[in-house]
Symmetry: C2
Subunit: 260 residues, 2 copies
């Protein structure tokens, strides 16, 4: 990014165009740079890193004025990033920002999250990328306390960049008095499913996925879960490289046993 040039900020989310989290994010971003918003035309929660291959994508320009442009797409958050980078923008964005999600994306929730899928797609494309989430699913959640933190983190990433393939998973507790920002690792945990079983009018059973998150290491103080429970904004540096380097050498050593 050249000095004195306003950075180009590409924004998406997975909660739809009217979500309070998106509004809050755009309000912060437009004070820092030129903003292009490309979002799914409906809520695409829990779409992870999915892309659309079965139907074509339509783009609708909603607003185009100096400083803020707004497009809707009949696709996923990752589709939005792909379309923006390859078709809608004249130049590569300086940063991809996703959110602010209505609901936590800490620990393994990152894998289900469309918000974080979009941030990951930015990183795959070599662009510094950040996903923000608030620990409240409420449609009417108040995002005002997230704004100073979003501003700080966006400015830091714009000034310093991120290593290739790294993106940030930022979660914010839903309390007014935050204690600060903690850089963390992803907590070990999982969603314990409680499938709700019902019967439809034709007597067929059906299920709703639901459940609660279980932290496998509540005692650990370096995790995102710990930071959030203790009133801190959690920042996890994430990588697009899924390789398990901890066990890579072990597996490499027994490669002979895998031969046919």
């Amino acid at each position: 990014m050249k000095d004195k040039e306003r950075p180009l900020i590409l924004i998406t989310n997975d909660d739809g165009i009217k979500a309070g989290g998106l509004v809050a994010l755009v309000e912060v971003a437009k004070k820092i740079g030129d903003v292009v918003v490309v979002v799914p035309n409906e809520s695409y929660s829990a779409m992870s890193h999915a892309i659309t291959v079965k139907h074509p994508l339509y783009v609708k320009e909603i607003k185009h004025k100096k400083g803020v442009a707004l497009y809707k797409v009949n696709g996923t958050p990752v589709d939005c990033i792909k379309l923006a980078i390859n078709k809608l923008l004249d130049k590569a964005p300086d940063i991809v920002v996703s959110g602010v999600n209505h609901g936590s994306n800490s620990s393994v929730s990152i894998h289900y999250s469309g918000t974080m899928g979009a941030a990951r797609e930015g990183a795959i494309n070599g662009i510094p990328s950040v996903g923000f989430s608030l620990l409240s699913h409420s449609y009417d959640a108040d995002f005002s306390h997230t704004k100073p933190f979003i501003k700080k983190i966006l400015k830091h990433v714009l000034a310093n960049g991120l290593p290739e393939g790294t993106y940030l998973n930022v979660n914010v507790p839903n309390i007014r008095k935050l204690k600060g920002v903690k850089v963390c690792r992803q907590a070990r945990g999982k969603w314990v499913e409680e499938l709700i079983e019902r019967e439809d009018p034709r007597k067929r059973k059906y299920y709703w996925l639901t459940g609660y998150f279980k932290n496998f290491e509540p005692e650990a103080v370096d995790t995102d879960e710990y930071a959030l429970e203790n009133g801190f904004v959690s920042v996890v540096p994430c990588t697009i490289d899924t390789t398990d380097y901890k066990h890579y050498d072990n597996l490499k050593n027994i490669q002979g046993e895998l031969q046919v």
Copy 2:
């Protein structure tokens, strides 16, 4: 798994119930253990780690005989694993196996893949999990050469387990004479998009996502891409922990700069 007890093998895929890759996988698995197949009722390619939250899930039992049971679900591959583990199975499976996918899931393709989403979900649930893919998108692809490798890898994982949170991404070249199995890391690369632009009868522009994979490090000999190009089956140990430990300390060191 107790000695002499047949292992319980949970299988899913993202290409539908009649896909040749699924048939090949079941043929191998039923010689090793008791097989329960829970698959999406239609092709769910590129659904990544998505789960269904907007509509309820219906399960249809297609077949239930000793040794092989078969269910269809109106959901994603990850939904199938969640339903199987939490509702359909009496006990936890000894292994989750996904595939064989019609098409490569090497390098960053793992992020878009429903096949690998299901394997990752198995690992999140503490079950040793493997996803298999063949480097051919053809519906009529011949999977016979993949079978000895699938058998070897399944038996190895059943006998030795996998570390907590680790799952395997196995890709097989579409050539008859394979040179062996290589344990690899995920190659750096990305999909270069070539959005196909068309016009519908109402003169509205629409786009199809397409493109080609670009390997950023074709010279590296320890990647999955290199192994596959050179006639080897690639085995990448993957982790559910997205934390970028390479850059964790750097970011932790500048944590002070992120405070508001």
